[in-house]
């Protein structure tokens, strides 16, 4: 990057807010998805909305692409830098600005860590509901970009359910307010569009969140089943009985082994483990918990435990939340996949995954948010065995194709980012994608904000959407469009 521009950036963020040496930049060359790496030209750490605006105005003037970054825990390459671009880290904008419990609102800067929001309102028995497994390190700004979920979104909804208002620096440096502290602000629900847009529509600098009163009673049941089929049938019966648990999680034997090795959660060694959490008024929870236990028994659960104390409950969850990282205990390398299926397709998709695993000789551990059909298959491999990494990647994409064939989605909570943009045209038609890109053009006509993400084929703004004509090679089945 030329010295003059560096000088201008430094004038905005100060010397301590600008990284431009190679060793400093290395930290930012990837996010949680480490197999994609791009070196940014510079990394800036603004401390205020005005500083973000100042940086973005320069980017706009000089046509420099930028990528916003929170804690860098994303698993789809959303915060991966782009060629010849800069990274804007929001880590220094980490203040909780306002706590208004009479209205159940908390206003934060984007760099605030997810769990800190709950930490702040816990004494008054409130919590911030979206709970991605990385919640002790991931930032609210990153959650907004990815529309993060978590185990409890079955009942409580996703980040988008809990974001009421956003202050956003648009890609031309102007400032807008989308939504607000009150509900249903007149106009288009642009906050709804912004949440989950993976940093492609601008940078949020202030977020108004809704917090939730902690329920009177929380009970977590753990049931051991011979296999995922029986556990899956139990989930169907729970839903059919008209219950909406706070969470229903499932882990298969390989995932259980890994979690045990990592955090000793004292899980039973079984084919599939179901974890059902109910919350609400005590009388209601106790009544329903009995029904859940009966349903599990009826479907072949050979061990059922209900966590009796907060400590037991915390341990049960620790095992589940550590499941991804725990794979390191049983495999040198692994790919975390994130797909969604209609929950009823679970037995069929699982047996297909097993078949693919046998076919390729690669082990696949399965961790699911079983209540909403969000699968996290973990493909295990050894990078040092020639060809295994490629085979693992191929298998992981095959699993996504299974999800799509079942009527599901290529991502339930990790986002498309860099990783899955080539799968987007398998999930959506050309007109679908073109329409989304028209919305993008309204926010970012020059395509400077995280420009290479989400969409398989970026469209220049102003380019007219025309009918898609396949390339002759594609028609002949020789080439495939990503």
């Amino acid at each position: 990057m030329n010295r003059d521009l560096l000088h201008q950036f430094r004038a905005i963020v100060g010397a301590s807010g600008l990284f431009s040496s190679l060793e400093e930049l290395h930290t930012y060359e990837c996010d949680g998805l480490t197999n994609f790496r791009v070196m940014p030209l510079a990394v800036l750490l603004p401390a205020s909305t005005e500083q973000v605006q100042g940086i973005v105005r320069i980017c706009h003037r000089e046509r420099i692409p930028f990528v916003a970054r929170g804690s860098g825990t994303g698993l789809s390459g959303g915060a991966l830098p782009v060629q010849n671009g800069i990274v804007i880290s929001l880590a220094r904008m980490n203040r909780i600005l306002e706590v208004d419990l009479a209205n159940a609102r908390v206003v934060v800067e984007p760099g605030v860590i997810n769990l800190e929001v709950t930490g702040r309102v816990q004494p008054q028995q409130y919590f911030y509901a979206p709970d991605p497994s990385s919640q002790s390190v991931c930032s609210i700004g990153g959650n907004v970009a990815e529309n993060s979920g978590g185990a409890h979104c079955l009942k409580y909804g996703f980040t988008t359910t809990h974001v009421l208002g956003l202050e956003v620096v648009l890609p031309d440096g102007s400032l807008v307010h989308l939504g607000g502290k009150t509900l249903d602000r007149p106009g288009y629900d642009l906050a709804g569009v912004f949440v989950g847009s993976e940093g492609t529509l601008g940078i949020t600098t202030k977020v108004t969140l809704r917090v939730v009163k902690r329920p009177e009673c929380i009970r977590t049941l753990l049931a051991a089943f011979p296999s995922s089929n029986e556990a899956g049938a139990a989930v169907s019966d729970i839903i059919a009985a008209g219950m909406l648990p706070a969470a229903i999680e499932m882990m298969d034997n390989l995932a259980i082994q890994a979690a045990e090795a990592a955090v000793h959660a004292n899980y039973p060694n079984c084919g599939a483990l179901l974890l059902v959490e109910l919350d609400g008024p005590a009388a209601e929870v106790e009544a329903l918990m009995q029904s859940v236990a009966e349903i599990c028994k009826k479907n072949g659960a050979w061990e059922i435990r209900v966590a009796q104390t907060d400590a037991e409950r915390a341990l049960v969850w620790k095992g589940r939340k550590a499941a991804f990282a725990a794979m390191g205990r049983i495999s040198p390398h692994y790919i975390v996949q994130d797909g969604v299926i209609p929950r009823t397709a679970l037995p069929q998709v699982l047996s297909e995954i097993t078949r693919l695993s046998q076919e390729t000789g690669l082990r696949v551990a399965n961790v699911f948010h079983a209540g909403d059909g969000n699968l996290h298959p973990l493909v295990l491999y050894d990078r040092h065995v020639a060809g295994q990494e490629q085979a693992a990647e191929a298998l992981s994409y095959r699993i996504l194709e299974l999800c799509l064939a079942a009527g599901g989605s290529i991502t339930g909570e990790h986002g498309v980012g860099e990783d899955k943009k080539r799968m987007m045209s398998k999930m959506f038609s050309e007109p679908d994608l073109a329409t989304m890109q028209r919305v993008r053009c309204a926010f970012d006509p020059l395509q400077l904000s995280n420009p290479t993400k989400i969409f398989p084929t970026p469209r220049m703004c102003g380019e007219k959407a025309g009918e898609y004509v396949p390339h002759p090679l594609e028609s002949a089945g020789i080439a495939e469009r990503f």
């Binding site: 642009l190 949440v195 008024p281 329409t435 919305v439």
Partner: protein, 419 residues
Amino acid sequence: MLKTSSIEEKLQTAVGSQNLRAAALGDSVCGARPQFVAEPEDEQQLASLLSCANEMSVAVIPRGGGTKLDWGNPPKKAEVLLSTARLDRVLEHAWADLTVTVQAGSTVQALQNTLAQHGQRLACDCLWPDRSTIGGLLSTNDSGVLRLRFGALRDLIIGVTLALPDGTLASSGGKVVKNVAGYDLPKLATGALGTLGVITRAVFRVHPLPHSARTISFSAASLQIMQQHVLCIQDSQLAHTALQVRCAADGQPNADMLFEATEAGISAQESQLRTLLGTTRGEQAAESVWNARQQLWSSADRAVIAKISILPAEVANMAGDLQQIANVQKLPWQMVVQATGIGTLRLDGEPEHLSAAVAQLRAKLEAQGGSLVILHRPNTLASLDAWGNPGDALPLMRAVKQQLDPKGTLNPGRFIGGI
């Protein structure tokens, strides 16, 4: 501008002559009478009609059940009324997956009836469900008392198909509850008053019908005291489904709470509620109290009905402002406010007084970050802006409109900021 006969010919080609008729007086939209009414049979026909109208720069007003056709500002132009009446099928109720795919012209009640066969519901109690359609419900972002527990339509919709003015049929979202692939256009379409595209189908997450339900009502000596009760309940660990306050210029405010759970759960909560309320007595009440919002529309020809939104803790202050303003203008008022801070207000009186009161109350609300949107007004007040201050995102909203409907074909002038 093309001749009417030539327009008719082209529209007929797009939608079939049997599906196009001349508009009658009853098809008027806020006093503007369109020339034609088109009733396409399927999504493709609807998209062709739209693109045909767009090419000829003919304005299109989408219509579902017509129950809320007077919401928003009067259209600048209204040449074709596009009815979704024939797109009325529930396409797929995947009950075990708790989702449903439904065409835009289905009435809300028809959908609810289908869902109830498997003990489920769309957790949205809208106005006039027997006539309101899914497309109209989404476009107007109507919500009732269930919103407190289940969220707004934006939290229930998981997929949408839109017909854009250029004839594109575009889907976004999907058929699974959890999905973050691509932009969330279902939310963009919700509450857009049909100004960006015509919704042709939607996918929702649905909820189980409750085991049992019980309504408890109580009253308070003043709105301040009622506000304290409401805040205290909201700060408790009760898991009620709904909480509304009914109040008016005269008389005590009443509150209604809905519990939906097992019998054991409801009884336990009722006893906790009685403890919370102290000396205020709660009585079991009939389900009909939940019609209070809809009842505001009865014999309302000369009334203004508005949706107001304020922070929940500010409701009593707002009602104080309202009382003051209404006293000066000598206007009787009635209001039903949810614990979410969203309320429906009815003001009765002479047009000039109504107009002044709306302006004053809107200014008070907007100063506190709230809003006032007019849902119904007397014909003489047609020029009263329905939306209020759009805030600093208006240029961005216009840019979105420009991208999806550059010629302003859909519902021109009806939305915020003249969109």
